[in-house]
Symmetry: C2
Subunit: 318 residues, 2 copies
Amino acid sequence: MTQAERKPDASARAGALTRPIHGVWSPTLVPVHEDFSIDVERFIAHARWLLAQGCHGLALFGTTSEANSFSLQERMALLEAALAAGIDPDRLMVGTGCCALTDSERLTRHAVDNGCKMVLMLPPFYYKGVSDRGLYRSYAQVIDRVGDDELRVLFYHFPRLSGVPITVGLIELLLADYPSVIAGLKDSSGDWSNTADLIERFPEMCIFPGSERYLLDGLRHGGAGCITATANVNPSGARGVWDAWASGSNDLEARNDRMIQVRTAIEAYPPIPAQKFLIARHRNDPAWRRVRPPLLDLDDRQGAELLESLAKLDFTLD
Amino acid sequence: MTQAERKPDASARAGALTRPIHGVWSPTLVPVHEDFSIDVERFIAHARWLLAQGCHGLALFGTTSEANSFSLQERMALLEAALAAGIDPDRLMVGTGCCALTDSERLTRHAVDNGCKMVLMLPPFYYKGVSDRGLYRSYAQVIDRVGDDELRVLFYHFPRLSGVPITVGLIELLLADYPSVIAGLKDSSGDWSNTADLIERFPEMCIFPGSERYLLDGLRHGGAGCITATANVNPSGARGVWDAWASGSNDLEARNDRMIQVRTAIEAYPPIPAQKFLIARHRNDPAWRRVRPPLLDLDDRQGAELLESLAKLDFTLD
């Protein structure tokens, strides 16, 4: 039994609540117009709704935002629009990790210059099998070039899509040289044993499972919350689990089970098209269904099946 | 035995020589300064040397160019500098396939507007497991948006790095709708049976193995030549095989064997750092060794081993 596993709930609770970055974060879907350009107005309405539904913050420009399908200009313009609309920069975590060093540098500087100090960084993901030293150099170059003491970097570990894992060795190298900058990690591996290992090894970091499936397990082991795509369609479900855990409520397990059932139903389908489909349905707004190539909109048959399986759970969007 | 295999050498020869795009193409290494910015002067000298050594053309901004490690601005500026220096646009094949539709569109338009009509396009490579229809939509959108009748698209199939294969189904979809635009494919799978299958299925396309290892096999089956990284350090070797094949020379097999031995020695090391190391050594110019993060320069021990194995082959750069 590890130290984290022995930790009683109450102290783990205090741990997560006092972490500098914590809670239920939603990687935010980005709606697009018919020409696949970003639909800023619908985006801002959705971002506000997610925060109103209880998300502690929004991860903008991760996988769920289709971030890599948009140009740097499109990404920077959307961030500026969100801030201009009054979204609090302290409740944003901005995805800035690109294949090109100069792109990661540019997006990271743009984020911090606009008051967004938390960035969620994919490793450069074109070359595979690169060394920890090479990846170290990529992250270190961005941190040095941006040169902002308030910058906080969270690693984005999503090996199935990036093909480039964030290893323990890489984290150690960067923590040694940038202890105040390296702040956390989103673990989208779907492998709970990896998440648990990271939480135990790096107690100074805010470790977020990439799915609400492991929100509660994570909290009990010293995790910081979760950053989960399906918070786009079930934000209050995930927030409800957080609150029940934070207050020690009796309905914690029941809430957790239900939240995981909803997640399971949704993740049987391509996640981004499925969630856009659900929002389109909920808001009676077919424009929301669109995804940018290379993704495809959820087809009608899949949509009907998904609605049926959610109806069996008696689940509707709030 | 397939139709291509039955084809006698002479007619295959005529086939490759009359293809609109053919020969030995070098995906060009891109040297960088100490701050990792592109070293335009060294690049242009190298590009000229490759053409003088017999390369039919240069593939600029594929994997070997570390293309995805540079921003769009850096890529466009280098192409403009190369053209301003007098590099013939008909001898350039420009890599323009990015993760973001709008980036692929921008680079492709920039290339054709600058007279470079041949583009080598990676599929959008962040999302994995995407459908042929989704990839079709990505390529079709770029072709439609650029809207230039002279545009010629070559697919860049490199599944080990992109994680997104170019399938027969995708090629069929695009050929059906854009028969004059879809011009060819570079097969960097390293799987000769895949290359042979594509040559047989798509006789209207210019199919290039991504290694000189399959140059001769390809030519004998109806391939168009090769686009091979190691042409950066052995351009005359690959061109020599092409010429021996085109003229029906007796020393064809001996030349081919030797070229493949050199390739084998080099590919035992990380290919981009190893080739930059060899050019640095050849030109007595250590600056050439640098690669951009996340890659790492070849270390001294690897460099010494590589030189030793090439010395055993009595190989030196021309």
